[in-house]
Symmetry: C2
Subunit: 184 residues, 2 copies
């Protein structure tokens, strides 16, 4: 998995290959293909492992927790946006994340793996929001799923659709806006 992540970030989606991962890791190709039948399956596994490296726990300060968590998500997305590109490219397109979304749309089993990965990870953040609701930091009738869609959705929308930057200043504005609400 370490070899796969390193090659993925270095090569980008197009030039990433399972064969090269096998060579780099010193294992038989068949060992990899048995577990991950295509490069898309292997990429989903790498992304899942990246996600699992980010801890999610309610500290008693939901603003701080969300800011930290979204900062980690944005850092991961920015690394994937940059995958396979020179650091100076200035390319703001979505790169790897868009390719994974397209692969998920094309192949039902990749799609199921992507949805399962996000379902499992996002459940942790939904629990965090429930704890914040129970503690009285959030409205008693707040809907964690909707609140999380507003937060994560804004990041992915900027990455995949409008190409706008994901940085700490934006995350602060986003968390403030979501927590406070727009209407008078």
């Amino acid at each position: 998995m370490d070899a796969a992540l390193e090659l993925l970030l270095d090569r980008g989606y197009d030039r990433f290959s399972v064969d090269e991962v096998a060579a780099k890791a010193g294992v038989a190709k068949t060992t990899l293909y048995r577990r991950w039948p295509t490069k898309d399956h292997l990429i989903v596994a790498v992304v899942a492992r990246l996600q699992d490296s980010v801890p999610v726990e309610y500290s008693g300060d939901v603003r701080a927790d969300l800011t930290r968590y979204l900062g980690e998500i944005a850092a991961g997305l920015n690394r994937m946006r940059q995958a396979g590109r020179p650091a100076t490219s200035g390319d703001t397109s979505a790169g790897l994340v868009a390719e994974v979304a397209a692969a998920a749309a094309r192949h039902a089993d990749v799609g199921a793996a992507v949805q399962a990965m996000f379902h499992r990870r996002n459940a942790l953040v939904l629990t965090l929001l429930e704890r914040a609701r129970e503690s009285g930091e959030l409205h008693a009738d707040v809907e964690p799923e909707v609140v999380f869609d507003q937060l994560a959705g804004a990041l992915y929308y900027r990455l995949l659709i409008t190409g706008r930057p994901l940085d700490a200043a934006y995350i602060d504005r986003l968390v403030a806006s979501v927590l406070r609400g727009a209407s008078v």
Copy 2:
């Protein structure tokens, strides 16, 4: 453009071709290729035309305006999700929208066209939010861009990442959550 839209929704991304659009519309292929060098360029033009068919104007009731506008966006996204699939497929993957996002990530000129299309359309909604702010419906310091990211982002996130449905009930919950805010 009518021929292109009809074929796109019928065939889906993979089986959509500029040649077939030319045949259906009764124009020379070269006429189309001169204006839209690849099928991705033509698809972006079709989607832009679909977007332009949705009016955006502030009525004095921002909740009603956002609910109506997001309902139209969701209807368009659901049509594109379904493109090329039998109505009974039950496939919840993103389909066409994910393919366009991937094409935008792969080809700089397609990416620029997609970003320009969203920039132009979203500016109308940002103006609507500014009017609502001036009228006193929204906080004086509300940031239209961030509010819009939360709304549109949630829809695209569900479409492209989690595969969750986009229906009227969800849009009501989303608009209510964005306008009110999560924190006590």
